[in-house]
């Protein structure tokens, strides 16, 4: 199940036109691909992908989004593509 969720997250992230996205949008896309996936499980899978260095968090300080590492953003926002 965990691997299935991770795969669905990556498919969503790679297919997304946006370089950063909200958890809710990611979770919605994942639950369409993996029916019955619970929100907490999706979160756990996303956290594992962050730990593996595949996903990154993007935070404005007040809200947080997810993104694919190496796509669109670097640690210096002046160097990113957006």
């Amino acid at each position: 199940m965990m691997e299935e969720l991770k795969k669905a997250i990556l498919e969503f992230a790679e297919g997304s036109k946006k370089t950063k996205f909200y958890f809710k949008d990611m979770e919605k896309a994942v639950s369409e691909k993996v029916p019955g996936a619970k929100m907490r499980e999706v979160k756990k899978a996303a956290s594992e992908l962050v730990m593996e260095g595949v996903l990154i968090y993007f935070s404005t300080g007040s809200s947080t989004m997810y993104g694919l590492k190496g796509r669109g953003m670097t640690e210096d926002p002046t160097e990113g593509s957006e």
Partner: protein
């Protein structure tokens, strides 16, 4: 009951962990400070040093002078952070616009909060603050520290950061202002492994819970706010560090309706200690107040002669629900009408105390104006017991989160969602019964729309028949 940490905690000794000697901490004279000029002209900021109050400008200048005189190996980020910080602020004052960009992907491994990326868009002119990230450190419950902890964290931040900090941010954390990306992991290591603390919440996380001084120092506390704050901070670690909410979510805990942390206005879920039995009255002490033997307000506001204490004028006549009276020389309270305003208890604390059957009221949805206007919290649960392991409270919290994560829009606070869907729908989802305490004027406000299945016998209604008599 004595406090029991969930696991053994490190004893911090400043003498063992200190980085700076006393001479390095005070390495300048007041005369030097008086003559010290930072490298930028800051006439507008210097106006803020005038007047009776302590000034952050004066503090930043002290910091700049001390860092100027420290040896190179005594700091790991640029020594001129304070000077450039003041410089960029002066420029913003002149131009009327900010030169800070915030946000980014900086953080510590595995955490989605606690570090807020800050960058100046004038990096060439103010290079020391080009990357100047903020770290939030989870404060202990009620912000009780020992000096070893405070000195150690100050040394750590002087060494690996700018030395500038804000105690405390609005949410409650210690806010460490200004460091570079490469220092984040070493600071995090020292905070967690040496100082046995953690970084706080930011972004779409549960934010660092915060509480009043509670039973540690206050006789009015109806609940152990520190215990509850500590328990929920530990229990919801995943929510604190790994963001999955639509937006921020804050807990705050007030031990009584005096609300010293103003949870009712400042938190998405507000916990306020209360009681459901009667206010305890010591009639002898009431007589003592009336006779002038005991000072009202525990002696507060005593710097002026207010005249003889008048219980009718100062207490009974000010009761918002008119539930107090003197009958045959005794103070009586119609407790069913008491709205917990605390005024009588605050005025005569020797004579009146909260009841002994204590618990908590839960209120939901307060927020400051970011996307929508400010709003106060709405009462959800008038009373519930607040005793370890707090399963009843956790049950309500998780139902709120589950629904908000499902139905809330991106960047929509739970209070805004309640406004959008309506309180009746929200309490129905939480399986909470409607209560008259939820509205200001329950006798005239039709806040509950009954459904047919809620009413014995139900009812039949033909909308077409109705429309023959009532046009749209």
């Amino acid at each position: 009951m004595a406090f029991e940490p969930k696991r053994p905690v490190n004893k911090i000794s400043y003498q063992e962990s200190r980085i700076y000697s006393d001479a390095e901490l005070k390495n300048y004279t007041e005369e030097e400070l008086k003559n010290f000029k930072i490298k930028h002209e800051i006439p507008m900021l210097e106006e803020l040093e005038k007047g009776p109050w302590p000034s952050f400008v004066a503090d930043a200048k002290r910091n700049a002078l001390r860092r100027k005189k420290l040896a190179d190996d005594k700091m790991l980020i640029d020594r001129e952070g304070s000077e450039d910080l003041l410089g960029v602020l002066e420029q913003s004052f002149v131009e009327g616009e900010t030169h800070w960009k915030h946000g980014g992907i900086v953080g510590v491994m595995g955490y989605g909060g606690g570090v807020i990326g800050r960058y100046s868009d004038l990096a060439e002119k103010y290079p020391s603050v080009a990357h100047f990230h903020t770290m939030r450190v989870n404060q202990p419950a009620s912000k009780f520290y020992d000096t070893d902890f405070l000195r150690t964290i100050c040394d750590l931040w002087e060494y690996r950061g700018s030395g500038l900090m804000n105690l405390h941010g609005s949410t409650g954390d210690l806010v460490l202002l200004g460091t570079t990306t490469e220092q984040l992991e070493p600071i995090f290591f020292d905070l967690t492994h040496v100082m046995d603390t953690d970084i706080g919440g930011s972004g779409s996380n549960l934010r660092t819970p915060s509480c009043c001084i509670g039973k540690a120092r206050c006789e009015f506390a109806c609940i152990d706010t520190q215990e509850l704050s500590y328990e929920l901070t530990n229990y919801y670690q995943d929510e604190l560090h790994r963001p999955a909410f639509p937006y921020k979510f804050k807990f705050k805990f007030d031990g009584c309706p005096n609300g010293c942390v103003a949870s009712i206005a400042r938190s998405d879920l507000s916990f306020i200690g209360t009681w459901r039995d009667d206010i305890r009255i010591d009639q002898e002490a009431v007589k003592g107040y009336i006779a002038g033997d005991i000072k009202p307000n525990a002696g507060a506001h005593g710097g002026k002669d207010w005249g003889k204490f008048d219980i009718q004028k100062e207490v009974i006549g000010l009761c918002p629900s008119n539930c107090m009276a003197m009958v045959d020389g005794k103070l009586t309270i119609n407790n069913a009408e008491c709205v917990r305003c605390m005024h009588c208890i605050n005025t005569m604390p020797r004579a009146l105390k909260p009841g002994t059957d204590t618990g908590v009221s839960l209120l939901c949805g307060a927020k400051a104006p970011i996307l929508d206007g400010a709003q106060m919290a709405t009462l959800l649960v008038p009373f519930m017991k607040a005793e370890a392991p707090y399963d009843n409270i956790k049950g309500v919290i998780e139902k709120i989160w589950e629904y908000w994560m499902d139905e809330g829009k991106n960047r929509e606070r739970v209070g805004e969602m309640i406004q959008r869907i309506g309180l009746p729908k929200f309490i129905e989802v939480l399986e909470l019964p409607p209560a008259p305490q939820m509205v200001k004027a329950p006798r005239s406000n039709p806040y509950i729309f009954w459904k047919e299945e809620d009413v014995a016998g139900g009812w039949k209604r033909d909308i077409n028949d109705y429309r023959t008599r009532h046009k749209r």
